[in-house]
């Protein structure tokens, strides 16, 4: 790959950028740069040179064209809830897309919505919900994260088991490419075998191939009957019991979600929330089921309960009402962060393995924790093999924390898994890309080179930036 030299921003360019978006929507003030200097969890703080809030696609095209002509880095950002530094920028332009938050079209007959990238996930569902429709990803960050960021990361969430991930809903995109040209790819149709699938090349590209300015999404009917249960697996062999129950259940039905929380995380949730939100047992499993009829829901409950009990679940408690359901999910959503309050930094893992290897990878993580004398919390979307582990550490423990993270990733690859299931590569996981992708990483690089020859699009993410 050619050498990329990204230039610092000169005042004259800032003036031209201001002409494009208006003085009110551009800033080089330190307070603004700091506000965009980090994202979720990662202990890295990088300041862009300038932050811009564009209003529409033509403005973005003009900004990108100017950036390309002057070899200036440009990093798109939605809500900045990415977990691995994907949405932060060392210098260059940071493009905050939250101002572009319109739902351009909602077609309840075709069950399709076309939105701008800054639309917030829950806002979109509030509107589509009025027509009984749903974009069913449900990331725990849904109250703030944006459609553009979800596409950028190929986000998924608590219901991926039944409903899949963002990529399963993206039908078409409008993208501003690195030279400032605007392309539309895909159609508002449910199927197409017409040529290469460029739409899905951009999904999960973390802003490295272009700025997504319009997204057409497939929607599905929202089920009317929902229920959530806490299932306790108390024995020391709780992990095996829980996973055996999950394997058996999965062969006969697909619950919306199945989440697993280890004992350490359960304790942390109760401690921080100052109330006993979750039972404290070896392994706690959350079952979420969705149905279109009350009778269907009851059938699912009976089946799950029967199988769980067969595998030594001593208590399964179904939420009595929506309020209790909300409390249960509040506990699960809190799990990601409460377990790391005691330390200054955290390494957050997002691995995925074939589901038959879930017990093996969890056991491996527990072994690493013991060996390195670290507290590692485990929460996961157990039934699709996606496990999050959190390694909180103080500065004097950073080497062993990162060594532990490396060991877990190597094991994941050995088991045939992937280093990131939903959070993206960002800055933190670049070092494992070669290991996971081998030769095909060169092909990815070649694609990047075609679309972004000067390497201005979110440089330093996914691939290491190549320097002189």
């Amino acid at each position: 790959m050619d050498v990329i030299i990204l230039s610092p921003l000169e005042n004259v360019i800032i003036e031209k950028l201001a002409e494009i978006v208006g003085e009110q929507f551009i800033s080089t003030d330190d307070a603004d740069l700091v506000s965009y200097s980090s994202d979720f969890m990662i202990d890295v703080f990088l300041k862009p040179d300038v932050v811009i809030l564009p209003e529409n696609t033509p403005q973005i095209a003009a900004i990108v064209k100017l950036a390309n002509e002057n070899s200036i880095a440009i990093t798109p950002r939605g809500a900045g809830t990415a977990t691995h530094g994907g949405s932060i920028a060392q210098g260059g332009i940071l493009l905050d897309l939250t101002r572009m938050n319109k739902i351009k079209e909602l077609d309840p007959i075709s069950m399709i919505a076309t939105v701008e990238p800054g639309v917030v996930y829950e806002d979109l569902n509030r509107i589509t919900g009025k027509s009984g429709l749903w974009f069913p990803i449900e990331p725990p960050s849904g109250a703030v994260c944006t459609a553009g960021g979800m596409v950028g990361n190929n986000a998924s969430g608590l219901m991926a088991l039944k409903y899949g991930t963002t990529k399963d809903y993206v039908l078409a995109l409008e993208v501003v490419l690195a030279d400032g040209s605007i392309i539309k790819t895909g159609k508002s149709v449910l199927k197409s075998s017409s040529g290469y699938d460029l739409v899905h090349l951009f999904v999960g590209s973390e802003g490295t191939l272009g700025i997504i300015t319009e997204i057409t999404l497939r929607l599905i009917p929202k089920p009317m009957h929902l229920s959530t249960a806490f299932a306790s697996f108390p024995s020391l062999n709780g992990l095996n019991d829980a996973m055996n129950a999950i394997y058996e259940i999965r062969r006969v039905l697909t619950p919306a979600g199945i989440e697993l929380i280890d004992l350490q995380t359960q304790k942390a949730i109760n401690e921080v929330e100052k109330e006993k939100l979750v039972p404290e047992v070896e392994i706690l499993v959350i079952f979420e089921i969705h149905e279109f009829s009350a009778a269907g829901l009851e059938d699912q409950k009976d089946l799950i309960e029967g199988v769980a009990r067969k595998h030594n679940c001593n208590e399964i408690h179904w939420a009595k009402d929506d309020e209790e359901r909300d409390r249960m999910w509040k506990a699960r959503k809190a799990a990601t962060v409460v377990s790391v309050r005691s330390r200054t930094s955290t390494l957050l893992g997002d691995l995925i393995v074939p589901i038959k290897h879930v017990p093996a990878i969890i056991r491996f993580i527990q072994e690493v924790a013991r060996e390195k004398d670290l507290l590692i919390s485990i929460v996961g979307h157990a039934a699709d093999g996606n496990i999050h582990y959190l390694i909180p550490f103080n500065q004097n423990e950073s080497k062993k924390a990162f060594d532990a993270g490396d060991a877990i990733v190597y094991k994941t690859i050995e088991l045939g898994g992937s280093i990131t299931a939903e959070h993206g590569v960002g800055l933190e996981k670049i070092k494992y890309m070669e290991l996971e992708h081998g030769e095909s990483l060169s092909l990815m690089r070649a694609i990047k080179k075609i679309l972004d020859p000067k390497g201005i699009m979110n440089p330093g993410k996914i691939f290491p930036a190549e320097k002189q």
Binding site: S27, S35, F40, V51, L53, R99, A143, V272, T336, V337
Partner: protein
């Protein structure tokens, strides 16, 4: 930067260090709904303060704008999954800026007004007479119950009407109560804007005056006064010799004792939405008393906002926003009132003079039809006082 000591921020360093930067606190932030810049979101504010405390940031005017563009509504505290009190951090940041004379001019000017006149509206007792805002009734001298009037609730004609109605109601119920002849501002605005010295000055003055009356209970209709008297005064002068309650708690008590009974009048039912004031609800936990009152009025049909109780959206009038950015305060109110219009509910009832004023200003500005009532106004009119 060295001109600011950050002595208050240091006290909340742990919260700043604990923040995971998830930004979930933005989800219900009324300011972030109106301003797209991350700088004005709760996480943005936390990042700015953290960088200043670590010596990595520059104290520009934008920092001041960010900190004072906030209603201190506490929705961020309520949403934070790490259990951080963001508003404690923001209050500490404001104190450091204020003490270093880096607060916005509008803030300094309001605090000077309060210090000089003892109230937020800069009115003298004579002005109040001319405006007809002083209560026209006799109060007993040694009553056990003292009504702390509050300047927001009495020095402006709109909330004044509600407060006078609650005086009348108490009289009708034969409640023996008194007031302070020379009451001064409770200090809440100074507290919210970052001036702890002035807050303390008002606290010491009012506590000594209340104690002189020998009252064992102090009731107030203003949630700002209520919170400061109940939560802040004890921090400043130690345990108080009197109990502090909100008027809605007192009326709910009377309902429980069958002392206050609303009779059926045969009038049509009025649909109302109850808006939880942040200072009364999220900050002091009073959610049930106002609802009990509304539910016990036969002509009232109580509905809820989508976001209610501890999740209730702010009216926009808190945290001094009406001073630092009145337009934004009105826009926030408009969004809240729009829900009433969309739900086709003609009346929004609140229990706070600041909410009532900001809602009323917004309603006028945006030509909205919805009617704004304070709960005391409503109760007073139901009883036909």
């Amino acid at each position: 930067m060295s001109e600011v000591s950050f002595k208050n921020l240091i006290k909340v360093k742990e919260s700043l260090d604990t923040c995971f930067k998830c930004s979930l606190c933005k989800g219900n932030c009324p300011v972030s709904e109106q301003i797209f810049w991350a700088t004005f979101s709760p996480r943005g504010k936390m990042l700015i303060l953290r960088s200043l405390l670590r010596g990595q940031g520059t104290l520009t005017d934008r920092v001041r704008d960010s900190l004072y563009t906030c209603t201190l509504c506490g929705n961020c505290d309520n949403t934070c999954i790490a259990g951080i009190s963001v508003t404690d951090v923001l209050a500490a940041g404001r104190r450091d800026l204020y003490e270093a004379r880096k607060a916005p001019e509008s803030v300094n000017s309001l605090i000077s007004t309060i210090k000089e006149s003892g109230n937020v509206f800069d009115l003298t007792k004579e002005d109040m007479d001319i405006l007809g805002l002083n209560p026209r009734m006799k109060f007993s001298e040694n009553a056990d119950l003292l009504f702390f009037k509050g300047c927001y609730a009495t020095y402006h004609s709109i909330p004044n009407e509600s407060t006078m109605r609650s005086f009348n109601l108490l009289k009708t119920l034969n409640v023996d109560f008194t007031i302070l002849e020379a009451e001064e501002c409770c200090g809440s605005p100074a507290y919210l804007l970052g001036d702890m010295d002035t807050t303390k000055r008002f606290c010491e003055y009012n506590v000594s005056k209340i104690e002189e009356t020998g009252a064992s209970r102090v009731v107030t209709a203003c949630p700002g006064c209520y919170r400061v008297l109940k939560q802040v005064y004890p921090q400043l002068v130690g345990t108080l010799n009197f109990e502090v309650i909100h008027i809605t708690e007192l009326l709910a008590e009377y309902i429980d004792e069958d002392r206050l009974v609303f009779k059926k009048t045969g009038n049509d039912k009025l649909d109302v939405l109850y808006h939880d004031p942040c200072e009364l609800g999220r900050h002091c936990g009073v959610y049930d008393a106002p609802r009990k009152i509304l539910e016990s009025i036969p002509e009232i049909h109580l509905e809820e906002f989508d976001k209610n109780r501890d999740e209730a959206k702010c009216c926009g009038g808190g945290g001094g926003l009406t001073i630092s950015n009145p337009n934004l305060a009105n826009q926030i109110a408009q969004l809240r009132l729009q829900e009433a219009e969309e739900k086709n509910i003609p009346t929004v009832v609140t229990a706070c003079p600041a909410c009532q004023l900001n809602f009323s200003a917004s309603k006028d500005k945006y030509n909205m039809k919805v009617k704004i009532l304070d709960i005391n106004q409503l109760v007073g009119s139901v009883k036909g006082l």
